[in-house]
Point group: C2
Chain length 288, copies 2
Amino acid sequence: MDTATGLETRELRYFVAVAEELHFGRAAERLGMAQPPLSRAISQLERRVGATLLDRTSRRVTLTEAGRVLLEEGRAALEAVEAAGRRAQRAALAGTGQASVVLTAKAGASSELLAKLLDAYAAEPGAAAVDVHLCGPGEQERLLRDGRADVALLHRPFDATAGFDTEDLVTEHQVVLLPAGHPLSLRSEMTLAEVADLPGLPLPRWPRRDGSFPDGAGPQVRDHTQVLQLIALGRACAVLPESAAATLGRDLSAVRVTDAPEVTTVIAWPAHSRSRAVAGLVQAALRL
Amino acid sequence: MDTATGLETRELRYFVAVAEELHFGRAAERLGMAQPPLSRAISQLERRVGATLLDRTSRRVTLTEAGRVLLEEGRAALEAVEAAGRRAQRAALAGTGQASVVLTAKAGASSELLAKLLDAYAAEPGAAAVDVHLCGPGEQERLLRDGRADVALLHRPFDATAGFDTEDLVTEHQVVLLPAGHPLSLRSEMTLAEVADLPGLPLPRWPRRDGSFPDGAGPQVRDHTQVLQLIALGRACAVLPESAAATLGRDLSAVRVTDAPEVTTVIAWPAHSRSRAVAGLVQAALRL
DNA sequence: GGCACCGATACCGTGGGGGTATGGACACCG
DNA sequence: CGGTGTCCATACCCCCACGGTATCGGTGCC
C-alpha cells in the first residue's frame, strides 16, 4: 500500500478534463487532441493508481468514488504545480527590478486599508515593489493558490481562507446602502429581513465561482463600483461592510444592519510561504 | 507574464534532486539515470520557466533566487501530486471493505484521548474503518501532506499546523518526569532552568526533521517509550504534557513545570478535504 | 432492425527522453 | 606552468510512448 504512484501532471490534466466533461470526445477536443489517445491515457492512469476512476458505458460516463477523490485532489495538485512555476518565474523577474510581490484585493473593498498598508510597507527599509491585482469576488483565492498572487486581502466569512495562513486586521459591522433621500435612509438600524423586502430595491446578484449567476430579481453585478452606481440610480440596494460606505458621495446613504454577520478583513498568504517580502507586508499590516 | 508554465512532475522531481544535491552527478545517480539527460532536462525546465534556476560552474552549483523558490514550491507541489494519487488509491480500497481513513498520531502521546476518540467515532452510525498510523515526532505533518494519512492528532506548539484546518481539543500544562524516589520528585513545581540543571539527568535529544540529532549531552531518542524507559533507568528526565504522565507506573514521578509552554492537542486535516469520514472524526473529537 | 453515438482497439509515425562518447572549463598538484 | 582529475555541456543515436487515423463493438433510440 505504500506504492509511490508517480503521476505525471499531463495525466492529471487529462483526467480532470474528462472528469469535468464526463465525455471523452468533448474532453479530447478541449485538450486539443484526438479521443483515442485520451482513452488510453486514462486507462494507463487507472492502472497506475490501481483503481477504476470512471465507470463508462457507451452512453454515459460517471465518476467512481476514487475518481471523485482524484478530481478534487488532482485539481489542488495541478494548482500547486502551476503555482511553483509561476512563483519561480516571478522570483527571477524580481531581480531585474520588476515587481516582486503580487497582492490581490477585491476591487472596491477595503481600499482605504489597502492604501495605508501600501504606504506603511513602502516606508520600510528594503521594501520590495508591490504589484496590486484587483479582481472580482472569489477570484483571489484562486490567484493565491495557483501562484499568480503572493498575498491577499480577504473578507471573512465571504472568502474561503482554508489552507492559507491568515492574520485578522479589522472587524466591522455591515450597513445597507440606499439611494440618498430614500424614506428609510433616516432609520438608525434595520434587519436583513427588512432589507430583503425593500420595494423596488432588490439585492444585486454576484457571480458564483464558475461565473454563472444565481436566479433572482436583482441586477447582475461583477464589481463593487457597479453596485454603487446601481444604488445611486435607485435600482438596487446592497449590504456591505462599513468601510465600503466610508467614502460614499452625496447620492448614497447607509443604515446599520443589526443582524448581518460581522465582516473581518484578513491578510492571507500560502501556508508554506517563506518569502521575506510577504512577511514584511504582513508585519506592516499588523502595525496599522 | 500570464504564461501557463505547464511543468511536468518528472521535471520537478529532477530539479528537486539537483537542487538538494547541488551536484548533477550525484543527483543523476540518485534518480537512477545518467548525468547528460539530467543536464538537458534542467535546461529545458529553465527555458520553460523562463529563468535560470542554477548557477553552475564546473566546480560549484548554486541556487538562484528563482531556484530557491522553485525548490520550496516544487516540493509542496510534488507532495500534493503524491497525495492525490494515494488518496484516490485508498478511496478505491475503501469500497472493498478495507480501511478508508488513516489517522496518524505521535506514538505514546495523547493515547487516552485517541482511544476515546476511536470509541466515540466507531459508535456513530455509518462510521468508516479507521486505520491508526503511529509515528515519530514531526512525521505526521508529512504523512498528511503526501496523502498517506487523512487526519492527524498534532501538538501545538511542537508540530507545524500551517496549511491544515484544525480544531483545538485539549490544552494542558507540562510536567517533568523524574525517576521515582528522586529527591526533587517531592517538589510541587519546578522551572525549566531547574530542569536543565538536574545533575546526571540530561534532557533527551529528539531527531530533527531530516533525521539528524542536535548536539548535546542527553541520550538520543526517537520514541516516547524510549524516553520513559530511560527515565525509569535514572538516565534522563523529560518535560512532557501532563497526559503523557497520566499512566505512569511506580518507577516514575511527575512535577509540574511552571514556565514551560502549554501544549494544545489539535485534530488536523488537509484544508481542502471534503471527506465525510474525516468530518465525522472531527465531530466526534469535538464532542469528547 | 437500422442508425447514430461513443468509447475501446489496432496500427503507425514521430518527437523526445534516455543512453554513450566526448568536449571544454576549472581547480589542484607537482 | 603543464598535467591531471573533476564536473557540467554538447553531440549523436536509439527506442519508447505519445498522439494521430481507421475501425470495431456496444448501446440507446426512432
